[in-house]
């Protein structure tokens, strides 16, 4: 009888799927690991220190804020993930204090001042990155060459190189790849971009590994396919239509492959834009949001003064999420007025 008295009484449903918040967070971390290993391999141990610093800072901030608010949220893994993403968005040679400040800003200001996990309206890692980018632009532009390229020790990322290079460029180039080869940029093939043999932030260079991680998340049903597909799709379409104009070519000549493979697009598309907390809740809403991200990324990248626009585009679209949610409510079952009219 005493055994029986220990029975649980709960409201239905009495069973649950195996999914939990922390499981989601750790699976996302897992899917990011290959890209990080590549980054550390390519840029050296220094980048591992950057990653460790940003993760430790994020977790410490989460712990302290949790203590302050009497919540223990460290174990849900969200702070670790934020720290990891902040680290991935840092150039390998960034001063350590910048990485730490980015993590602290992400957790304390962006996440906890709004109430912690689930209540923030902006992706913390991206907000941290953007904050330090505008505050310490110099420190955030210390690029290193990956170890596969031996002829230079430091240089800009392909997008940055083109953006600054084009300002003073007086010759003619047919497109970004042509421009890079004319200027003697060390990493010159699509394959270099795809595999990650280019300078860039620690975790964003290998399009291949990020794509694999992203597909893993879709297969694990953690990420809906709508956001990545419509983000890349709309961005690629716009780039294809208008991207060639800057090089004096006509419409429909943009170098889609170049733009899709560079500048952290893969990292942003699969791991930042799909952040559950800061993306819409309906499928319809996700499509609107993703197309918005694609459009803004295109505008900032092709016409803006920053070399790349993924972070800003996602942050701007985060702001629209409540509005998108409001106008994309699901259609209720039994709401059949429309069908009746058709009859």
């Amino acid at each position: 009888m005493s055994e029986e008295m220990k029975l649980l009484i709960k409201s239905s449903p009495q069973i649950h799927s195996r999914q939990t918040t922390s499981r989601i967070m750790w699976i996302v971390v897992l899917s990011l690991i290959p890209s990080g290993i590549w980054g550390v391999y390519a840029f050296g141990l220094r980048s591992l220190i950057v990653l460790a610093a940003s993760i430790i800072a994020a977790c410490a901030a989460e712990y302290l804020m949790g203590r302050l608010m009497s919540k223990n949220t460290l174990s849900d893994g969200s702070a670790f993930l934020t720290g990891l993403l902040v680290g991935y968005n840092m150039p390998p040679a960034v001063p350590i204090y910048i990485a730490v400040i980015a993590s602290l800003f992400a957790i304390i200001i962006v996440k906890w001042t709004f109430g912690g996990l689930g209540a923030n309206w902006m992706n913390p890692a991206l907000a941290g990155r953007v904050f330090v980018f505008f505050s310490w632009t110099g420190g955030m532009s210390r690029w290193s060459m990956p170890r596969m390229i031996t002829d230079t020790v430091s240089g800009a990322s392909p997008l940055g190189f083109i953006k600054t290079g084009m300002l003073s460029f007086e010759g003619t180039a047919t497109g970004p790849m042509d421009f890079l080869s004319i200027q003697g940029y060390p990493a010159g093939s699509y394959m270099d971009f795809f595999l990650g043999r280019i300078p860039g932030c620690i975790g964003e260079v290998s399009a291949l590994l990020l794509l694999a991680g992203g597909i893993f998340l879709i297969v694990m049903k953690i990420v809906n396919w709508e956001i990545p597909v419509f983000y890349i799709g709309s961005f690629a379409l716009l780039t294809w239509i208008f991207g060639g104009l800057g090089f004096g070519n006509g419409f429909f000549t943009g170098d889609v492959l170049f733009h899709v493979l560079t500048g952290g697009l893969m990292l942003g598309v699969f791991f930042m834009a799909t952040d559950m907390v800061t993306s819409p809740i309906t499928r319809k809403g996700m499509i609107v949001y993703a197309v918005g991200c694609g459009f803004l990324t295109f505008i900032i990248r092709i016409y803006g003064s920053f070399p790349e626009g993924v972070s800003l585009a996602i942050i701007l679209m985060n702001i629209f999420v409540p509005l998108i949610n409001r106008v994309t409510q699901p259609v209720k079952f039994g709401n059949i007025q429309k069908e009746k009219k058709n009859d």
Binding site: M5, L7, I15, H16, R18, L117, M276, P330, E339
Partner: protein, 441 residues
């Protein structure tokens, strides 16, 4: 598996675990010496006891009479004497009057004769039998069957849909009935056909019961019953009336309306069997098939038990508990009730008794809502559970009602899926209760 029908919006695929019981033939439970027969075993007004302490009762004698339009008769499951009339708690935590009957020593259940009389009776007379013998919906909702079968004036029943979906995990009582009592079920369908007078009859079966689909198809053809057997894709909650109608006919029952609005009458396989028992065998509804299952029970099985039998006895008949149990549930795991008093009696609506372990329940701590939108994706009613929950959490019941709270039927898809383990269904229940209390509409 192309071309299989299902409903379009939402739905989930919980682990079925049907294999625990779906090959186990129905066995009769021993009848206990004392039976506790609740007066509230159906949706609607409780029945009123028409016997008093000390009265002798006979098997099948009416002991509770309906007290309203939506109410049902209760019959004695055994010969015996009324020991007391008392209040008990049902598995859902509600209080109910109950007649406690002491079985006459040496009681042997009567053997009933099959009679073909019904073929000469009018639809109204048949429905009257259904009513008098206390038949209610056996799928779990226990709505009085005669009310459902009485098609209102002006409405036409185009479809009679037999619900053999049994989408709740673990349960296989309906599955076993389809296989073991095929001809009874088909005759029951003919009786309901006569009462309802539909243009078409269809039976919806999920494809995890291929043997049932096969046998029903063959027997219906052999007996010349014009029955469309619709194989359905597996998806919870397909056994809900609205989802089943959508899957079979493509029609959507409007919010707040009954199936007859779109020309449909839906009846569960268990109900069909009860109608057969009532009309052909002249046997009131005082027994039902209960699936006893779960990893916490030693030998899961399907048991034909008399109403009023303590649930403990069914678990014991299945070898008892393994000791790893953490929850005991009456009904299916998605919509059933967790309870702790194993002496609670079996009622007309007890489709299953599940003894679940930690592994099956998958309890986890609750975290903040991540706005992942999974609850919106899986809601079969096209609602926004997270938004409604937040309204209710902030005591804004009007806001929740305007978002569609009353369309929620507590199927549990949202709460099952929620990675943050937020008790969404509990929230909806609270919201409905509070809205009613505060007269918000």
């Amino acid at each position: 598996m192309k071309g299989l029908k299902t409903f379009s919006k939402g739905g989930i695929h919980p682990h079925g675990r049907k294999n625990f019981t779906n090959k186990k033939a129905i066995v009769k439970a021993e009848i206990p010496d004392t039976l506790v027969v609740p007066m509230s075993q159906h949706l609607g007004a409780p029945a009123e006891a028409v016997v008093s302490v000390g009265d002798e009762v006979l098997e099948g004698m009416q002991i509770g009479k309906p007290t309203g339009f939506i109410s049902a008769s209760i019959h004695s499951p055994v010969d015996g004497r009324v020991k007391e009339i008392t209040d008990i708690f049902l598995v859902n935590g509600m209080k109910s009057r109950a007649v406690v009957i002491e079985k006459t020593e040496g009681f042997i259940p009567s053997v009933k004769e099959k009679s073909d009389d019904w073929k000469t009776k009018s639809p109204q007379e048949l429905n009257e039998i259904v009513k008098d013998l206390g038949v209610v919906g056996m799928g779990g909702a226990t709505f009085p069957a005669n009310v459902k079968f009485a098609v209102p004036k002006g409405a036409i029943a185009e479809y009679l849909i037999i619900n053999a979906v049994e989408c709740e995990p673990y349960l296989s009582a309906d599955h076993r009935l389809l296989i073991e009592k095929t001809s009874e079920i088909l005759e029951g369908i003919r009786i309901i056909q006569k009462i309802v007078n539909p243009k078409k009859i269809a039976i919806g079966i999920e494809i995890n019961k291929p043997d049932a689909i096969d046998i029903i198809r063959r027997c219906a053809a052999a007996e010349n019953l014009d029955l469309e057997v619709v194989s359905l894709k597996m998806k919870y909650p397909q056994g809900d009336e609205k989802q089943l109608i959508k899957a079979v006919t493509g029609r959507e029952v409007p919010s707040g309306a009954l199936p007859i609005e779109v020309g449909c009458v839906v009846s569960n396989v268990g109900t069909v069997n009860a109608v057969y028992d009532a009309v052909v065998m002249n046997q009131p509804l005082y027994e039902r098939v209960v699936s006893v299952s779960g990893l916490g029970v030693k030998n899961p099985g399907n048991i034909l038990a008399r109403v009023g039998t303590p649930i403990r006895q069914l678990i014991d008949a299945c070898g008892g508990m393994t000791g790893k149990q953490i929850k005991v549930i009456a009904g299916g795991p998605m919509m059933g009730f967790a309870f702790y008093d194993l002496d609670t009696p079996v009622t007309k609506g007890t489709s299953g008794i599940l003894v679940l372990t930690d592994k099956e329940v998958a309890e986890a701590p609750q975290t903040a809502c991540l706005s992942c939108g999974k609850c919106v994706t899986v809601c079969p009613m096209g609602l926004n559970p997270t938004k409604m929950f937040k309204y209710i959490d902030h005591s804004d019941y009007q806001g929740a009602m305007d978002t569609g709270l009353m369309d929620c039927k507590e199927c549990g898809c949202c709460a099952f899926t929620c990675p943050a383990h937020i008790p969404l269904v509990q929230g909806m229940r609270l919201g409905k209760k509070m809205a009613r209390k505060k007269k918000v509409s």
